[in-house]
Amino acid sequence: MRLFLTQLRRDLLIAVRSRSDAANPVVFFLLATLVLGLGTGSELGPGAIWVLALFANVLAVEGVFGRDHEEGTLEQLIVHARPLFPAVLGKLAAHWTLSGLPIAILSPLGALMLQGSTAGASILVVTLLIGTPTLTLLGAIGAALTIATGRSGLLVAILVMPFYVPVLIFGASASAAATTGDPTSFALLVLGALLAASVTAAPFAIGKALAISQEH
């Protein structure tokens, strides 16, 4: 818990200091929603919002370790944080607070732009709140694996996209069902299960990948 909080506080502080970087995913999400709304007219469902949230996520998560690697703070983290996984979890929690959380909160606005109503928006927010942390955790595995290759945005996307697909399917189907008033609980439960699985397993995989990245 100490490691989690120490790392969370540090990363939030850095994010606040570099506002323009930190705001990137949210700005991307809002711009893409706006452009998509203008380009297609108001006939897209919540699935489109999920797709945009997913891309905003993968773009943001790609750089989550890059700067720490360059500055050597990543190797210090690996040397000092015993065990490593709570610190990794703290780091990703800070990252999600500035990428997934604001997107989930702003998603009703996106729904308004893309489907012309806020029907089922509360379920959309809930699916994003449960789904985007899973995306961040899975994406961070890819980001950790590709640190040594330098800038690797597209590589991370290609690596993690197959693992994003179940989250996208259940997230989009639950929010689509909510707009028509169909039952959503099954998809929500699956999303919750995916989150529980990735919170418990992903930090270990990320820690291992980070350790490997420091071998040279």
Partner: protein
């Protein structure tokens, strides 16, 4: 089982599996390196390298550029794994690498607080200020690290040794980009550390002792010590 693991190229995994379950007797040593072998690409950096770090020891790792000094230190601190051989540490080391290890978007003060937090050392603001004053950064403690010179950043990294103390220091060219006073400071810190019973392994090109007990030298030259290693 072993055949399969070797087949899929996981000798290192096999090695760690074999190694597990035979605890090593460290006695009083801070660090024991046994028969380390490291191969990068086609050539062996070092083969059959063994040494121990006892309390009060200073070990200078010397060698030409590219002789594997940094790789050796990264193996000692656990960031890299040697091809074969074992490293046993009695304590978690403090490591000073080539990269500063300080976030440019935090102040030295905040960076040190972070390290102390990771180590679980309770530090109040004053003791961090004291450490910064000791390394000559009394007035720069609350400027962003990005705005500091390379030498000043190096001093922030040195302050880490004071804020989160460890009996084992592993320092990779600690004198790099320091001025004369900084070099003197490193020598003082090392002398104090050794008098408190700490040990240190330093990669360096310049002598790190001044008046205090002599250092032991581990010299690295391609493939030595031991037989020239043909991979």
């Amino acid at each position: 089982m072993e055949g399969w693991v070797s087949l899929i190229g996981c000798e290192r995994l096999l090695h760690s599996m074999r190694r597990r379950g035979k605890p090593h007797e460290l006695n009083d040593s801070l660090l024991v390196a046994e028969d380390l072998r490291c191969i990068v690409g086609p050539r062996a950096l070092f083969v059959g390298l063994s040494f121990t770090v006892e309390p009060g020891d200073l070990i200078e790792v010397r060698g030409a550029n590219g002789s594997g000094k940094s790789t050796l230190l990264r193996c000692l601190v656990g960031l890299a794994a040697p091809e074969s051989g074992d490293v046993h540490r009695r304590v978690e080391a403090q490591y000073l690498g080539h990269r500063s290890g300080n976030s440019g978007r935090m102040t030295p003060h905040e960076n040190l607080r972070w390290i102390a937090g990771l180590r679980g050392v309770e530090r109040d603001s004053d003791s961090i200020d004291d450490a910064l004053a000791r390394v000559g950064l009394g007035d720069a403690g609350h400027a962003m690290c990005d705005s500091l010179s390379v030498g000043q950043q190096r001093r922030v990294s040195l302050a880490r040794l004071l804020v989160a103390p460890s009996p084992l220091w592993i320092l990779d060219e600690p004198l790099t980009s320091l001025d004369d006073a900084g070099v003197e400071l490193v020598r003082e810190l090392l002398a104090e550390h050794r008098s408190r019973g700490g040990g240190a392994v330093c990669a360096t090109h310049r002598a790190l002792t001044l008046g205090s007990a002599a250092a032991r030298v581990v010299a690295l030259s391609r493939g030595a010590p031991g037989a020239p290693g043909a991979p």
